[in-house]
């Protein structure tokens, strides 16, 4: 007979303890980008709500942005660094497929021994990471988990691409997640749509580039397909998420969807019949779309500006390449 194995004791819930944020050091206005794509400041503002995006200087890497955000989140959380058990980084722009950015950060943060790995879920990545952190903690597999969404997308855009490049910015957002007596992170609603694998894509593979068959691979997308999916599918999933979290739309204080396009944000608010007094994350206007970093950056901003407060009910939802999506209802630290 096989022996009975012991498993870690389950923990009732998890919570976000603190956030950290780092944006690219350069503020890039629309006018700097419109020339090669035959666009205009007005067109971009009207269609996307973006006025500027932040991008990082050549000598600032995605690892630098990540480290700055991570340090702030850890410091604000007040945890003893020895109780940090895992680092999960969501990124599509760390230029090394291996080793992971998470293991690099583990060393830099003075905890080279922790569980550390990267995930690739693009703009849904931060919410994927929070879902994993919540599961690790509740299963008793980790005490505190550092989740980071970090991108330096400016390395993977083409100045002549009209489909996506002008939307994108650089930044990193981090959260420390820890145990809680009661759940302060609701069930993660997540998934993907593999039939739309190529709806948001790279122009080529690194092998194509090596073999001279493609230019340096950059991002491109079928914007209309993404827009329609983002509005229609996301609203449905958010409704499902509220139900599974046991709350109604009237209980929501703060709404932070992925900062993809202000018009998507507005339309989601409309579809969800979000009450007027709900605070909505609109960091995209100044920061642009920073993919995996956009949700924690927008949330961090609302907390820093006092628009959102500790104890508020936050609805967050990421969606993007894959087409992967994920979200949670959570109580703000």
């Amino acid at each position: 007979m096989a022996p009975t194995l012991s498993a870690p004791a389950a923990v009732p819930g998890s919570q976000v303890l603190a956030y950290g944020a780092a944006r690219g050091d350069l503020v890039v206005p629309n006018d700097d980008l419109v020339g090669p794509i035959d666009s205009s400041d007005e067109w971009i503002r009207q269609r996307t709500g973006i006025v500027t995006r932040t991008r990082a200087s050549a000598d600032v890497g995605v690892e630098d942005l990540s480290l700055a955000a991570a340090k702030e989140a850890i410091e604000r959380s007040g945890i003893d660094l020895e109780t940090l058990d895992a680092i999960i980084v969501s990124t599509i722009s760390f230029p090394y497929p291996t080793p992971s950015l998470a293991t690099l950060l583990a060393g830099e943060l003075g905890r080279p021994d922790v569980i550390a790995y990267d995930i690739s879920a693009a703009c849904a990545g931060f919410a994927y990471g929070i879902g994993q952190a919540d599961a690790l903690i509740r299963a008793g597999s980790a005490r505190n988990v550092l989740v980071i969404g970090a991108e330096k997308l400016s390395d993977f855009v083409s100045p002549t691409d009209r489909s996506i490049s002008f939307l994108l910015g650089d930044g990193a957002g981090a959260a420390v997640v820890g145990p809680s007596e009661t759940p302060k992170i609701g069930p993660t609603v997540w998934g993907s749509d593999g039939d739309n694998w190529s709806t948001i894509r790279m122009t080529g593979s690194s092998l194509d580039f090596r073999d001279g068959k493609a230019e340096w691979p950059t991002l491109e997308q079928d914007g209309r397909t993404v827009f329609r999916w983002a509005v229609w599918h996301t609203a449905k999933k958010i409704r499902e998420m509220l139900e599974r979290s046991g709350i109604g739309i009237e209980d929501v204080d703060v709404f932070v969807p992925h900062q993809a396009n202000m018009r998507i944000i507005d339309e989601l608010a409309k579809q969800l019949k979000l009450p007027e007094d709900v605070v909505v994350g609109r960091d995209i206007a100044e920061t642009g779309n920073t993919s995996a970093a956009s949700i924690p950056l927008a949330t961090h901003r609302l907390l820093a500006e006092g628009a959102a407060e500790s104890g508020d009910v936050l609805v967050q939802f990421g969606f993007g390449a894959g087409l992967a999506y994920a979200g949670q209802v959570l109580i703000l630290p």
Binding site: R224, R228, W232, R263, E267, K270
Partner: protein, 82 residues
């Protein structure tokens, strides 16, 4: 239950009003979405998504660019119901 042309026009006018603030009585069959009603490509997408839901039809993206006037959209939705 299939909607009549009039019901579709009324429903569409409500959607256009919700999405863009254009008065429902201005949403007439002969009006062009872009030239007369000043609706941009993004608002057009949100109108289409809402119309799909309301009338239980599929309006593929390739079709949307053929829907120049309100009448084009009404006709398309009417045909797509069956």
């Amino acid at each position: 239950m299939a909607h009549t042309e009039n019901e579709i026009l009324e429903g569409l006018a409500e959607i256009v009003n919700e999405e863009t603030g254009v008065a429902t009585e201005d949403v007439k069959l002969e009006k062009s979405f872009t030239d007369d009603l000043d609706i941009d490509s993004i608002s057009m997408m949100t109108i289409v998504v809402n119309a799909e839901e309301k009338f239980d039809v599929r309006i593929p993206d390739e079709e949307v660019k053929n829907l120049a006037t309100v009448g084009d959209a009404v006709k398309y939705i009417e045909g797509a119901q069956n």
